[in-house]
């Protein structure tokens, strides 16, 4: 039935226009982020040169020359225009503090954040799916109730607190590194050794991020599976003698997937905001500490570059979610 509708011209048109609209919306959001970031900058008193201005060794003329060189004397629209040009050419502007293009600086940090975030998401989902399904099938048993209690306790611990507690435990036991991403001298190790070293450093930050994500996701999985279990077609399948694993795998999981895919997209965004504090507390060299440093130094282009990168991640997560939703059930484009 669905495939038949897919072939009609009207349906194809509506899904093409849906995707064009969706991508246009994503681009609008990116523009909005950049304009907002520039506006904040415009409204704010002070700039990168403020700290230099305090120094008696730097003359007024030098400061003026630097203002012109950095382009801080030009009006808002002109600066925004130059920045857009820099985005097109791929430099993303220049960092005042580092003196090099922003793009390569930010790129390295984004990769580290992605490594952390992707591992945490993978761990959380890998645990939440089976546990959630299992929970939904035994919700009124003691095990089911204790799952409810356990997840509510985990949700009581914000990432910041969880990170601090895990750091204390790591310090006490000495089993895990208490910060950073690589050991000293990791460059000399073999590829296998480097990977093991990275995994070792990942354990604590990934645990911090994955635990609350797991608690949140497992509740959603349970709710979604329970909803589908109450449908008449499941009752029908049961009446026909389909039970146990076969019932769950063949009849329940696919229809339960839709709300879960939307939640997966949202979990990208919440993970990014969660990973900020974990990176700062645990010394993970990701976007978070980098941005914090840039904020303290008033390094404008770096701050905007970092914010834009996080916006790209969140928006790409949203687009990807819609794509997966579309592939699972193309009717969503034809609302």
């Amino acid at each position: 039935m669905v495939f038949h509708r897919l072939l009609t011209v009207g349906f194809i048109q509506s899904s093409v226009s849906f995707w064009i609209g969706r991508i246009a919306q994503a681009l609008c959001a990116l523009f909005a982020v950049s304009i907002l970031a520039f506006l904040f900058l415009e409204l704010a008193p002070g700039d990168y040169l403020d700290r230099m201005r305090l120094s008696p060794q730097i003359s007024q003329e030098t400061l003026e020359a630097m203002r012109v060189q950095y382009g801080l004397d030009r009006p808002f629209v002109a600066r925004y225009w130059t920045w857009l040009g820099a985005v097109v050419t791929g430099t993303w502007g220049y960092s005042f503090a580092y003196g090099i293009a922003v793009a390569p600086l930010v790129w390295g940090r984004v990769m580290n954040t992605l490594v952390l975030g992707a591992s945490a998401l993978a761990v959380a989902w890998a645990l939440a799916l089976p546990v959630g399904v299992w929970w939904a099938t035994r919700r009124s048993t003691a095990a089911g109730f204790s799952m409810g209690f356990l997840t509510s306790v985990i949700l009581g611990f914000p990432e910041l607190i969880l990170a601090l507690i895990l750091l204390v435990l790591a310090e006490r036991s000495g089993a895990f590194p208490v910060g950073g991403m690589r050991s000293i001298g990791a460059e000399d190790l073999s590829a296998w050794g480097r990977a093991r070293d990275l995994l070792w450093h990942l354990v604590l930050p990934v645990t911090t991020l994955a635990l609350p994500a797991f608690a949140m996701l497992v509740r959603h999985v349970k709710a979604a599976v329970e909803d589908v279990m109450a449908e008449t077609f499941v009752l029908n399948a049961r009446a026909l003698g389909v039970t146990g694993r076969r019932l769950v795998l063949h009849h329940v999981l696919r229809p339960a997937a839709n709300p879960l895919i939307s939640i997966a997209g949202l979990s990208v965004a919440s993970l990014l905001s969660g990973s900020f504090i974990v990176e700062v507390v645990m010394g993970w060299p990701g976007l978070g500490p980098f941005l914090l440093e840039a904020i303290r130094a008033r390094d404008v282009h770096v701050v905007i570059g970092g914010v834009m990168c996080s916006a790209v991640l969140v928006i790409a997560g949203g687009l990807l979610t819609d794509l997966v939703l579309y592939l699972n059930d193309p009717r969503m484009a034809a609302r």
Binding site: L43, P158, L291, L292, V314, I315
Partner: protein, 336 residues
């Protein structure tokens, strides 16, 4: 019935905590900025019920950290440093204290000899109020914009909803940082608090707006609304009396989601030094004061903000799930 009692108990507990936070000046024996340089990093003052001669006292005795550990009685409703409640009226009445020059430090002192208990209570005021006010701001915006979009539809609706779509795809913590980045780092604590609350409120309105709009959209087609409109009711009356009350359960659920989220956002910002700064305490900058190098060496009572944060977050989550059950049982369609 039993479950509703549980919900009531949880809500009362939360109200109590918020009440203590609002009346922070009354519950804290000293000013958060009063320094006792001669007793830095003091251990919590011991309360005793037996005096040196072995006699029992109903009124606890305090082993004063000042002047060689003399035993002095704890007094209630004492006059002390002056404070103001919500900036509305001032007072100098405190719940408990001891006679001058003695001191009572229930949770010890920090490195500058400031009473840790007082700072914890005032910190609660800062962090909890930030969450409450920011959530209030976001929800008021959501209620009015959602009502506008859902009720009038057409151009207003699509304009507001496009804006919502854009705001929803913003990485909010990074936007918050960016906004904070371009404000002076050495802002006065009060100003910083105000700025953070407004920023949080500004970034938080889109999700609840979308929910309110959905509810208003379906509510305005109901027959009783039609009937009221037919009887000559104006827009404002329809919205206030017939349509918006439908959204209150969703707003309550959103509030239990947003308040702890914003409280944590304030704590996070203050923790990394971009939020409320010294000398004003917040749970965030108190956490940042924990010795970073060796958390092991930290005294147990300095972890008090950790326990409070976990407790309050947990309470809100419990209220959230009880509230969800409550509304779905009443079948009011909590469309979250």
């Amino acid at each position: 019935m039993r479950r509703d009692k549980k919900l009531t108990a949880l809500v009362l507990l939360l109200l109590f905590i918020h009440g203590v936070a609002i009346l922070a000046g009354f519950f804290s024996p000293y000013s958060y900025r009063e320094q006792n340089r001669e007793v830095p990093l003091a251990a919590p003052t011991e309360l005793r019920w037996v005096d040196g001669r072995g006699a029992w006292h109903l009124r606890p005795l305090v082993e004063s950290p000042i002047a060689g550990g003399a035993l002095v009685p704890l007094r209630f409703f004492v006059r002390g440093s002056s404070y103001s409640v919500l900036g509305l009226f001032g007072s100098d009445l405190h719940l408990f204290g001891v006679d001058e020059p003695h001191r009572v430090f229930l949770l010890g002192t920090d490195a500058l000899g400031r009473d840790y208990f007082s700072r914890l209570v005032v910190g609660a005021q800062v962090s909890l109020t930030a969450g409450l006010v920011a959530a209030g701001l976001a929800l008021t915006t959501a209620l009015s914009l959602g009502a506008l979009a859902g009720y009038f539809g057409g151009f207003i609706d699509s304009a507001i909803m496009r804006l919502v779509d854009v705001f929803l795809s913003l990485p909010w913590i990074y936007m918050l940082l960016a906004a904070r980045a371009f404000l002076p780092l050495d802002m006065a604590p009060g100003t910083a608090f105000f700025v953070i609350v407004v920023l949080l409120g500004l970034l938080g309105w889109p999700a609840p707006t979308r929910i309110v709009r959905g509810i208003v959209l379906s509510a305005r087609e109901r027959e009783y609304v039609e009937a009221s409109r037919g009887a000559g009711a104006g827009h404002l009356h329809l919205l206030r009396r017939h349509i918006l009350p439908q959204a209150y359960s969703a707003i309550a659920i959103q509030a239990t989601l947003l308040v702890p989220a914003y409280m944590l956002a304030e704590v996070t910002l203050s923790y990394v030094g971009l939020g409320v700064g010294e000398p004003l305490p917040s749970w965030g900058n108190m956490l940042a004061d924990l010795p970073r190098g060796s958390l092991l060496g930290a005294e147990p009572w300095t972890f008090a903000p950790v326990f409070l944060l976990v407790g309050v977050t947990w309470l809100y989550h419990s209220v959230l799930s009880s509230l969800g059950d409550h509304y779905s049982r009443r079948n009011l369609g909590a469309t979250t």
